[in-house]
Symmetry: C2
Subunit: 241 residues, 2 copies
């Protein structure tokens, strides 16, 4: 019997089911209890149980077959790695020790490419920070972020060597990053990248351009990163239709 409290019932049930799936209690391919059974077991209505299941289906944990039932999906390999994360969270998911070195920061006017990505007029003042990213004390990437929101100039006073930019944006500035579009490209390292990443000119690097959006779909950040090709792989998941 689920309790009426601060946590919605559909969410309580969702977590119970997710536990059984990720905990291996219900293996891949096995049918979960039918919607009507769940109603009765947990003393909730069918529509509520359906909401729990629907969200888990959208998240890829379950799949439905009309007339037959709802089943546990095969777990995906990259389940953990396709979320929008800052560098710090990304490294922790890969069990590496992250570190950051701020190379420089300034308020700068937007150039044409940046203005297009952020959907603003060229020349508008943005906060720019360039950071060297390390994993287990080795340079892994060099990243240039441009941030645009009302009040972004206060970022000049933050300690971005130790505080997560995304955490700051969310908790302190009320600008939670929700989604990002990314473009990936294979390149050869130029002199500048090679120097920072401690590799040779002509070594392979992964160039990632990222535009980050808030929950309103408003562009918040445009970033350009060079990752060492020999030390970094990018994971993603694609969906049909």
């Amino acid at each position: 019997m689920l309790k009426n409290g601060p946590v919605p019932r559909y969410y309580q049930l969702k977590e119970i089911i997710r536990q059984k799936v990720t905990g291996g209690q219900w293996g891949p391919g096995t049918p979960i209890p039918s919607e009507r059974e769940l109603c009765e077991q947990y003393g909730i209505s069918r529509m509520t149980a359906r909401q729990s299941i629907t969200e888990l289906v959208n998240e890829g944990y379950l799949y439905r077959e009309q007339g037959k039932g709802t089943f546990v999906a095969q777990p995906k390999i990259t389940q953990q790695l396709i979320q929008l994360t800052g560098f710090t969270e990304d490294m922790e998911a890969r069990s590496k020790r992250p570190a950051t070195q701020v190379l420089n920061r300034a308020m700068v006017p937007a150039d044409a490419a940046t203005a297009t990505a952020l959907r603003i007029k060229p020349g508008q003042l943005l906060f720019r920070v360039q950071r060297l990213r390390l994993a287990n004390d080795e340079p892994l990437a060099v990243e240039t972020s441009l941030i645009n929101f009302i009040g972004c100039e206060h970022l000049m006073d933050e300690d971005l060597g130790h505080e997560s930019l995304y955490q700051l944006l969310e908790k302190k500035y009320g600008q939670p990053p929700l989604e990002a579009d990314q473009e990936l490209e294979a390149r050869l390292a130029g002199d500048e990248e090679a120097r920072w990443l401690k590799i040779s000119r002509g070594d392979p690097v992964l160039l990632i351009r990222r535009t980050t959006y808030t929950d309103r779909g408003q562009p918040l950040e445009f970033a350009r990163s060079f990752y060492r090709g020999d030390k970094y792989r990018f994971y993603t998941r694609l969906h049909r239709k």
Copy 2:
């Protein structure tokens, strides 16, 4: 007033709203009619209207704010390009003329890495096809696909130079690809890739490893592709939480 017919009402309303959003009739940031207004306008219940809106929110067209309303989101740049597509569909979305040249095909036993990706035992017979992919008559990628499902040996008889592998799997073999996990890595071209792609050894290439799953989460295909770094960018979208 929505009709009761083969198309569900929630889906009819969903398409109506999507049209107004993508057609520019409702610009970004503008509020759409409230759920209660939509009920009345279209003669449906609130839960039905909610289902339409919920799906559009999940697809990124709208966003909700409790107590305020539902609004049109800013359109994303890569909206078209982040779906799971075969090479042919991918090129069409980029307005390039795709072509394919089958280099070889065979039934081969799975090696260790492939067996892990496809979750099968090493040594199991798989269908393998290696194809050169061209865009506007220029070599763009060389791709090796390994396919595993019961009956995959019949693929030996198909004309994969002109027929889409994904279309075949879906329409003729009842194995619709639904999702894929991908790994991307920047590399330097080796002699073999360089020869096929008409580039030089040491030029940058994007190595993509892809595992494709059916709607049951069953691994269906494991593919390894080398894309010319100077002619191809990969797009993706990330979500928080």
